[in-house]
Symmetry: C2
Subunit: 335 residues, 2 copies
Amino acid sequence: MSTVNRQFHLAAVPVGMPKESDFKIVEAPLPSVAEGQILIKTAYWSVDPYMRGRITGVKSYADPIRVGDLMLGGSVGEVVESKNPSYQKGDFVMGMWGWQEYEVSTGKGMQKLNPQLAPVSTALGILGMPGLTAYFGFLDICQPKPGETVVISGAAGAVGSLVGQLAKIKGCRVIGIAGADDKVDHLVNDLGFDAAFNYKTVPNYLEKLKELCPKGIDCYFDNVGGAITDAVFPLLNLYARVSICGQISQYNLEKPELGPRLLTYVLVKQARVEGFIIMRFVERFSEGVMQMAQWLKEGKLKYREDVMEGFEIIPAAFIALLSGKNTGKMLVRAR
Amino acid sequence: MSTVNRQFHLAAVPVGMPKESDFKIVEAPLPSVAEGQILIKTAYWSVDPYMRGRITGVKSYADPIRVGDLMLGGSVGEVVESKNPSYQKGDFVMGMWGWQEYEVSTGKGMQKLNPQLAPVSTALGILGMPGLTAYFGFLDICQPKPGETVVISGAAGAVGSLVGQLAKIKGCRVIGIAGADDKVDHLVNDLGFDAAFNYKTVPNYLEKLKELCPKGIDCYFDNVGGAITDAVFPLLNLYARVSICGQISQYNLEKPELGPRLLTYVLVKQARVEGFIIMRFVERFSEGVMQMAQWLKEGKLKYREDVMEGFEIIPAAFIALLSGKNTGKMLVRAR
């Protein structure tokens, strides 16, 4: 076993789209394992859009990662040494130990995984934070009803692809917006979306949405913001519900951009627009995981992982994610 | 008694701020009163911001008033002839018969007023639609809690001035934004707002709001939209509630204006932004009127009326309202 624990630290606060040089590898000594502790070797690192908001240098909903800090994030790893009777060597756990190869912990705040239930990587996807985000952020905030029309931006991502499937479970008409033809194909042909379009090749989003949503839009699950969202608001129906999960189109702008004012649509349609951070629902996480696992077992939910390999590639994977290169959950697997 | 019933019809769909020539007086014959009907002579006409949205030529939440149609609106009048046993000559009623001097009706959809309870004009203000708008639009949508900070735009208008007083009843810190020094003075010295400012003389709304809201903003009741609202969103607290009652700054723009994108604040602060039209609460109107009347009787609510006189002046009163000339409820009294 290595005696070194490689970590990625934030090297610079990114300006616009992050660059690989905004992160640097630091070699820390492998910590020793005290009584009551376990040593975990990371198997999968998660990269997620929310991370961009944590490295802006300013407080958002949480304190920022500062230059010189270990990058944060959810990971799955294997217990390689245990001095804690609750864990055995070979157990898999999920926790928030960030972009590093090893973690020493008492196990507090971690979740022990059952590899028989589903592949351990799903603890970072459909049975983890993205799954919970889809479950609570869509079902609780949008309250979809059968027959309603649901539009999802960032529809081919880890969260969006699940939201669309949840909307189908609830009997809705589901329209996805994504940024590549193969993603559109995946949404419609693999995941059962009623329609989808590639915003990079459709010139007029509003006209396209009018065509695909002849009865207007009852629920909008927004991962993206910007011009796509601008085209959705004029089509909202009376009492529409909008769940603001992300605004990825805005995260890497060097200057905030202007857009059409949307509040008159909110007024006239008596719409409700609500933002959320998944930790709001922490007390109900077990409900969400159990229900998602049940639907997964019943074949009602599918998921796709987009896996890159090797610790060194994490920043590149994160940049690929922010550039919309992934279909499904973006992960980095340890070699 | 006159044999002519003067009415204002829409003469042209206004472009930008309405002009008096967008309305024209039409002399209709005074209708005769059939069995079961009453003849009402209007005593007060209400002019309200929502009317601007009904004369755009396009459907909003309701069909538009078209060129040649009678202008709509709430009015209070006196029964001058009755062939309906439920009404006596001298009774006062409130109804939606629009900008005309007389109305013949069975009384359906009208509300008989008790002049002993409060002046009949209050049926168009504190005990009418503006009062109900403040009551439900603030208390239901914002759910204010003691100690929270509440900001109100259009704070010296019929609705805003009541919202601020309701917020004080609920134990909140209340900040009003209005467009004249005498309005600011009225809010603070007559109505008990904790602070207020004149947006026409304050150069930087954001800095002013930071100064007046050191603990951030928990509830925002928006009548105005535009640059004022842009300055509120960055100061929203976690789980803030925003009630969109009006967007009067946008109604008379000839071209929609651009503004900063606000949804990232909604996301990060997990805020809820909701629009409403008062008719949504129609089944609870009696609850609202009774509670407002009770608070009025107890001296916990004050109101001011801004009264112009004479049928012919209604369009000018409406334009004055849209220009922010009024303090309190804008009314036109019949001569």
